[in-house]
Symmetry: C2
Subunit: 205 residues, 2 copies
DNA sequence: AGTGTTGTTTACCAATCGGTAAATTATCTA
DNA sequence: TAGATAATTTACCGATTGGTAAACAACACT
């Protein structure tokens, strides 16, 4: 019924997403978002309402295109799936350290905002449940096959906690070898959950 | 040889420390620091040189007065000491949730800066080595007594990774019960390292 | 063709950012 | 007591912050 939008909203959101992901919310100014999208600020505000609105769109986009696709590979997979997730984390870290250092947009945002922004908080909650759900279903599947040693819920939480710990080291700028080491530990811990594994929770390397 | 300083530098640093700890570096303006210390900005700049200088002083203060005293209780303690550390973490979370949500100034700073600020990076490194050193020496002590099951270095890293994971949940504004649950898992994991413990890495609660 | 509606553009806003120059005040030394 | 030195105060700086008002342009519908 009126003039159609001249730019691709999805593409703009992706650019905004990458910008927030790379530099964080507070550190990116509207000028950065203008440069990233090639759009004048007034256009951005007309489309998204506010900087916070842009972040929400970015997070939703990120959840749909980055998070979900990764954890679909974990869903209902088994111990192998969980261990492979951490293996891929390590590979990404080794192959593309700069991208890796950006961490996860949702984790970054939830650390930056805590509970202070309800819109962000609800998305953080969704993220945490998505990750936990993937780990839980994978381990549950393993348990059904009788291959899991230990309590399902506890193991799920531990996998989650280790992943969050990895993100701290990654964002904190820990040396690559340290990240690699921590990934190795996480993988070892997950592998130790196999019913057939030895008695030690964590073997050396 | 000249006019003496009228204010207590240590007290000022403590106020600055609390401010950065509570709100983060970027989110606290010089105006906040003025209010927190009761000192005009020019006085702060005369004393500390720059906002970044204030952060460094704050971190050093924090390391000396908050971190060191906590991890001295862990040094050379044994599994009990490590488990008790996580128990205290849980207690703090339950008794003073608001203070607890502030997380750790050094972890917060290292997440905010990554490797971008060398002065902060060197302090992050110092922090990580302090924490790891405490865990390592505690577990080494336990190993000497033959009470440790598993590889010393790996267990040290796992304890560290779990702690960092806890900080993410804390700063991310996770519900209190979630933090409590995660602490319980961490404690269970540490307890499972006892030579006499059962075969399961993580028992249900 | 005219009109209402929406997107786009340009220019701008007050507020805040980190930081400082200069004048003033207080102390110590000679 | 005079002068040197350093702390304090006041007022200010240019740059940047997130956000917007208003003029203009393009489309759909009657």
């Amino acid at each position: 019924m009126a003039r159609p939008r001249e730019f691709d909203t999805k593409a703009a959101i992706e650019s905004i997403c990458d910008q927030f992901w790379s530099d964080g919310y507070e550190s990116t100014g509207i000028a950065d978002l203008e440069e990233a999208t090639g759009l004048a600020r007034a256009r951005l505000y007309a489309a998204f309402g506010s900087k916070q609105g842009m972040l929400c769109e970015a997070i939703d986009f990120y959840l749909d295109t980055r998070i979900d696709v990764v954890f679909q590979r974990v869903d209902n997979s088994g111990i192998d799936g969980v261990a492979s997730f951490f293996r891929r984390f390590a590979m990404m870290n080794a192959e593309n350290p700069e991208l890796s250092k950006m961490g996860c947009l949702v984790v970054n945002s939830m650390i930056e905002f805590g509970r202070s922004d309800p819109e962000v908080a609800v998305r953080s909650e969704r993220y945490r449940e998505r990750v936990r759900g993937a780990f839980r279903s994978a381990l549950a599947r393993e348990a059904e096959d009788g291959g899991l040693k230990g309590d399902l819920e506890s193991l799920t939480e531990l996998a989650f906690m280790m992943l969050m710990g990895l993100y701290v080291s990654v964002k904190g700028g820990a040396p690559l070898e340290e990240i690699e080491r921590l990934c190795g530990i996480a993988i070892g811990v997950v592998e130790s959950w196999r019913a057939g594994a030895g008695v030690y929770a964590v073997d050396g390397a």
